[in-house]
C-alpha cells in the first residue's frame, strides 16, 4: 500500500512538471503582454523594451522558465502582473475559500440527491417516478448551469426576495450558487446510479442472494448498491473538474470573489504568474482527486486490491 502510494506520488510530481512546462511555453505563445496594451502600443519601442526589462520579460523564454521553476521550488509563485505586486500565493489563498465551499457543498448535495433519485428510478423502473427522475436528469445535463443560476437569481432572489440576489456576505449567499452548481452533479450521478443499479439488479448473484432468502433490504444495501457505486465513483472525478470550471460562470453570475473567475481573467490580461499559479492549483486538485478516488475503490470493493497489500 505504502509503496503504491509512493509510486503514485512520484507520478503526480512528474505529471505536474509536464503540465507546468507545457503551460509555461504555451502561455508565452499568447500574443500581447501583461501591460495596458493600448497605451503600450502607442509608446516607442525603446520605452516598451524598458518596461519589459523591468519585469524580466526580454530574457529568453527557457531562461524565464528556469527562473520560474527555481522560485517555485522555494515556494515562491511570483508576483501578479495584473494585481500589481501582490504575491500570487496570497491572491490564491484569498480567493480559494468561496470556491472551495461552493464546490464541496455542491459535490455533497449533488451526490446525495443524485444517488437518491437514481435509486428511486432504478427500483421504480418504468414507472412515473422513473420518467420524472430521468426528465430531471436530462434537463440538468442539457441546460447550462448559468441558465439555472440566472433563473434562481431572478425568481428566488429578486421576485420572491427569499435569498440574496448576489454577493458573498453571509451563509445565505452560498445557497443559490450551490444549488445552481449542484444541479449538474445531481443529473450525472442520478443517471449513472440508475443505469448501474438496473444492470446490477439483473446479475446472477442478486438472484442467488434472493434464492438464499436474504431480505430485500439486505440485498440492496450489501449487494446491489455497493457494486453499483464503483462506476458512479468513476464519474465523480470529471464531476469535480466540472465543478471547478462550472464555478467560474456561477461565480460571475453571483458576483462571488472566487478562484474560477481569476483563472479566466488572468488569461485575458496575460497575467503570466497568475496563469501558472492557478493552472498548477487546478492540476494538483485534479490529480489528487483521481488518487483519492482510486483509493476509495479499494474501500468499497475489497476485490480491487491496489498492490496486493495486506491492509484493506
Amino acid at each position: 500500500m505504502q509503496k503504491y502510494i509512493l509510486v503514485r506520488l512520484f507520478n503526480i510530481v512528474a505529471t505536474l512538471f509536464v503540465i507546468s512546462t507545457l503551460t509555461f511555453f504555451l502561455m508565452k505563445q499568447l500574443p500581447g503582454s501583461p501591460f495596458d496594451e493600448e497605451k503600450l502600443a502607442a509608446l516607442p519601442d525603446e520605452v516598451r523594451t524598458q518596461i519589459y526589462d523591468q519585469y524580466g520579460l526580454n530574457a529568453p523564454v527557457w531562461h524565464q522558465y528556469v527562473n520560474y521553476l527555481g522560485n517555485l521550488l522555494k515556494g515562491d509563485m511570483g508576483l501578479s502582473f495584473y494585481y500589481q505586486d501582490r504575491p500570487v500565493s496570497n491572491i490564491i489563498v484569498d480567493r480559494i475559500g468561496p470556491s472551495a465551499l461552493l464546490g464541496i457543498q455542491a459535490l455533497i448535495i449533488g451526490t446525495a440527491v443524485g444517488l437518491i433519485l437514481g435509486l428511486i428510478a432504478a427500483f421504480k423502473h418504468n414507472s412515473m417516478w422513473d420518467y420524472i427522475t430521468m426528465l430531471i436528469a436530462v434537463l440538468g445535463i442539457s441546460i447550462p448551469n448559468f441558465v439555472f443560476a440566472a433563473l434562481l437569481q431572478y425568481f428566488v432572489g429578486l421576485k420572491w426576495g427569499v435569498l440574496p440576489i448576489a454577493y458573498w456576505e453571509s451563509y445565505q449567499s452560498t445557497i443559490l450558487p450551490t444549488i445552481a452548481l449542484a444541479i449538474g452533479v445531481v443529473a450525472v450521478v442520478a443517471r449513472f446510479t440508475r443505469n448501474e443499479m438496473l444492470e446490477v439488479l439483473g446479475q446472477d448473484y442478486i438472484m442467488t442472494a434472493k434464492a438464499k432468502g436474504l431480505s430485500s433490504r439486505n440485498i440492496i444495501i450489501h449487494h446491489a448498491v455497493r457494486n453499483a457505486m464503483i462506476p458512479v465513483l468513476t464519474v465523480l472525478g470529471p464531476v469535480v473538474v466540472s465543478l471547478i470550471t462550472g464555478s467560474l460562470v456561477i461565480e460571475q453570475v453571483f458576483s462571488i470573489p472566487g478562484i474560477g473567475s481569476l483563472f479566466v481573467e488572468s488569461i485575458k490580461v496575460n497575467d503570466y504568474s497568475m496563469i501558472m499559479g492557478v493552472t498548477l492549483l487546478f492540476s494538483v486538485l485534479f490529480v489528487f482527486m483521481v488518487l483519492i478516488i482510486d483509493l476509495l475503490y479499494g474501500l468499497i470493493d475489497p476485490r480491487i486490491r491496489l498492490a496486493g497489500g495486506k491492509e484493506g
Binding site: 500581447g32 495596458d36 518596461i51 523591468q54 465551499l101 440574496p164 448576489a166 451563509y171
Partner: protein, 547 residues
C-alpha cells in the same frame, strides 16, 4: 486506510470553516446578530451603493494603469487641481497658480490646512516626491509617460541620464511648488487633476514599499473620502474623510462599491433596490429608455477603422475614401450599438476642449459625411487605378460589440459597393500584435483620451510612420503638430489641430470614423450629482447628494 479517510474528512472540514471566514468583513462583524434576515443586505440611508464591472486591480497610485483604480483613487486622493462637475479643472490642493508669460513655468501655492489622513500636512515636497516616484522606472509603471512627456528632464530621469535634482519640479518651501514644463501646454492644469500627478508622503511610502496601496492601511488619503475596506475581487467601501479641506461640501457619508461583472446581475440588484446606479447593455435599453431614471453619457473614446497605407491595395486613396463614405455611422448607433454611443463624423469626441469655451467638435463640424453615390464612383476609379478587383480583409478583436460593428460594415460594403470583405477575428492582444506587425489591411481600433485636448489623438499619427498607425506619414501633418506643440497662441494652435483632423480623415482618408463610446444607464432618482468625467479619473463622488 481508515486513517486516510479521517484525515481527508478533517481537511474538508478545515476548508469549509476557512471558507466561511471568507465572507465580506461587513457582515462578518455583524454576523451573529442579524442572521436570518432575508434578501441579503438591506441598504442604509447614508450609503451610496455602486459597482464596477471589473476587478479593482491596483490602488498604488504611482503604478496603476486602469480606469477603475483611477476612479477609486480620484475619490480618496487629490491633486493640485480637481475636475468640477463640468469637467473644468478647479483649484484643489493648490489654492492658486501663476503661469509664466512663456507658459513654461507653473508656480502653485498650496492651500492652508491640507492634511493626509494620518494628520500630517500635505506639503510641496510631497508633490515633488510623488511626481519623481511616478517617473522613476523602479517604482512606476507603463503610464509614466503622462509625466515624462511634459516635465523638463522627465525622460532623462527615467533613462538614468540625470539625477532627481535636475528634474523640473521644486519645492522652495512647504507651500510653494514650482513646475518647469518642456513646451507651452494649454491643458496642463487639467493634467494635474489626474492621479499620476498626486502627491505621495514619502516617509509613509518608504515604510510600506512592498505593499503600498494593497489594503486600506497601506495608503494615505487626502481626498474627499478614505478607504475603509478593499478587496480587488469584491469591492471597496469609502467613508467621508474628516481631514479633507472641503469636507463641508461632501454630502454622502458612506459609499459601498461592489465588483459585479455580470450585467444582468447588476440590473437585478438595481431593480431590487440594492444599487443606486446600473449600466444598461444594449438589449436592455429598449425596455428602460422611457423611464425617468434612464440616461446616457459619453466618454472620450473614439472607435474608427484604421486603414493600412502600407498595404498593396489600400495604399490607393480612392478605395479608402470609397470604404469611408459607403456606410452610415448613425445606423450603427441606432440599430447595432443602441447603448448611448454616438455616431462619429470625425475622430475627436464631442465635448473635448477646443478654444474660447467652444468644443473642438463644435468648431470643426462634420468631417466625414456618408455619400454612397460618391463612394461608388470612387470605388470604380480606384479599381481602374489598381487594375483589378481587390480582395479585402477587416481585422477585428474578439469582442461582441466590435464583431457586431464589423458585421455591420461588411453588410454595408456589400450593399453599397458590391464587395465581399472577409472578417479576421483575433483576441484583443492578438489584434494589436497583428497591427504592430503591419499584417493587416484595415482594422477596427479605438483610442481613449489621456487628457482633455485633441493633441491626445492627433499626436498618434506623427512621423515616423508605424504599421500600427497605418504607416501614415505626411510632412504637412507633422509640421502642423510641431507648430501646435510650441504655439503659445491658443486660437492659432487650435486652428492647426483642426487642420490635422481634416488631413487625417478627409484629405488622406487614413481613418474611417465609427462612433464615440457611450453608456446607457439607470440611476436612482434620489441620487443627484454623480459625476462621470469622460477622461482621467472617471467617477467622482465628491459632488453627489441623496434626498
Amino acid at each position: 486506510m481508515k486513517k486516510g479517510l479521517v484525515v481527508s474528512f478533517l481537511l474538508i472540514v478545515c476548508l469549509v470553516l476557512s471558507a466561511c471566514n471568507s465572507f465580506s468583513s461587513k457582515d462578518a462583524s455583524s454576523g451573529s446578530g442579524t442572521e436570518g434576515t432575508s434578501g441579503g443586505s438591506k441598504k442604509s440611508d447614508d450609503t451610496l451603493n455602486l459597482y464596477f464591472d471589473n476587478d479593482i486591480p491596483d490602488l498604488n497610485p504611482i503604478k496603476t494603469t486602469d480606469s477603475i483604480s483611477f476612479s477609486v483613487l480620484g475619490n480618496v486622493m487629490e491633486g493640485l487641481y480637481r475636475l468640477d462637475e463640468n469637467n473644468k479643472p478647479v483649484p484643489a490642493m493648490a489654492k492658486s497658480v501663476k503661469v509664466s508669460d512663456d507658459g513654461l513655468t507653473y508656480t502653485f501655492t498650496l492651500r492652508d490646512g491640507i492634511k493626509w489622513s494620518n494628520g500630517e500636512p500635505v506639503t510641496a515636497q510631497d508633490f515633488v516626491d510623488g511626481w519623481l516616484l511616478g517617473m522613476n522606472p523602479q517604482t512606476s509603471g507603463s503610464y509614466r509617460f503622462i509625466l515624462t512627456d511634459y516635465i523638463v528632464n522627465g525622460e532623462e530621469y527615467t533613462n538614468g541620464k540625470v539625477k532627481a535634482d535636475k528634474v523640473g519640479v521644486e519645492a522652495p518651501d512647504d507651500k510653494t511648488f514650482i513646475v518647469h514644463i518642456k513646451k507651452p501646454t494649454p491643458y496642463f492644469l487639467g493634467l494635474t487633476t489626474f492621479e499620476k500627478y498626486y502627491p505621495v508622503n514619502k516617509a509613509f511610502f518608504e515604510k510600506n514599499k512592498d505593499d503600498f496601496g494593497q489594503s486600506p492601511d497601506k495608503l494615505l488619503y487626502n481626498g474627499p473620502y478614505v478607504l475603509t475596506d478593499f478587496n480587488p475581487a469584491s469591492g471597496v467601501t469609502l467613508k467621508k474623510n474628516d481631514q479633507y479641506w472641503d469636507k463641508a461640501n461632501v454630502n454622502i457619508p458612506n459609499i459601498d462599491i461592489k465588483v459585479i461583472k455580470e450585467a444582468s446581475t447588476a440590473l437585478n440588484l438595481y431593480n431590487g433596490g440594492q444599487l443606486d446606479y446600473v449600466n444598461l447593455s444594449s438589449e436592455d435599453v429598449n425596455n428602460y429608455k422611457d423611464k425617468p431614471e434612464f440616461g446616457t453619457q459619453t466618454n472620450f473614446r473614439s472607435y474608427y477603422v484604421q486603414f493600412n497605407l502600407g498595404d498593396s491595395v489600400l495604399k490607393n486613396k480612392s478605395l479608402r475614401q470609397a470604404l469611408q463614405l459607403s456606410y452610415d455611422p448613425s445606423t450603427l448607433e441606432k440599430v447595432i450599438l443602441n447603448n448611448g454611443s454616438k455616431a462619429a463624423s470625425g475622430l475627436i469626441p464631442p465635448g473635448m476642449e477646443g478654444v474660447d469655451g467652444k468644443s473642438f467638435r463644435d468648431l470643426q463640424g462634420d468631417v466625414i459625411k456618408p455619400d454612397v453615390a460618391k463612394a461608388k464612383d470612387l470605388w470604380k476609379e480606384g479599381i481602374k487605378e489598381l487594375g483589378k478587383t481587390p480582395k479585402l480583409q477587416l481585422l477585428v478583436s474578439d469582442d461582441t460589440v466590435e464583431k457586431d460593428t464589423a458585421t455591420f460594415l461588411q453588410s454595408q460594403w456589400k450593399k453599397n459597393l458590391g464587395i465581399d470583405v472577409e472578417l479576421v477575428t483575433k483576441p484583443y492582444s492578438g489584434r494589436l500584435d497583428t497591427m504592430r506587425a503591419g499584417d493587416y489591411q484595415m482594422a477596427i481600433s479605438a483610442w481613449g483620451a489621456d487628457y482633455n485636448d485633441p493633441m491626445t489623438y492627433m499626436d498618434l499619427w506623427v512621423s515616423p510612420a508605424t504599421p500600427f498607425r497605418g504607416s501614415f506619414s505626411n510632412k504637412e501633418y507633422d509640421q502642423l503638430i510641431k507648430d501646435a506643440k510650441s504655439q503659445s497662441d491658443d486660437t492659432k494652435r487650435m486652428n492647426e489641430l483642426l487642420k490635422t483632423e481634416q488631413i487625417l480623415l478627409k484629405d488622406e482618408a487614413v481613418l474611417a470614423p465609427l462612433y464615440y463610446q457611450g453608456q446607457a444607464y439607470l440611476q436612482n432618482p434620489k441620487v443627484k450629482g454623480l459625476v462621470f468625467h469622460p477622461w482621467g479619473n472617471p467617477w467622482d463622488y465628491k459632488y453627489a447628494t441623496m434626498d
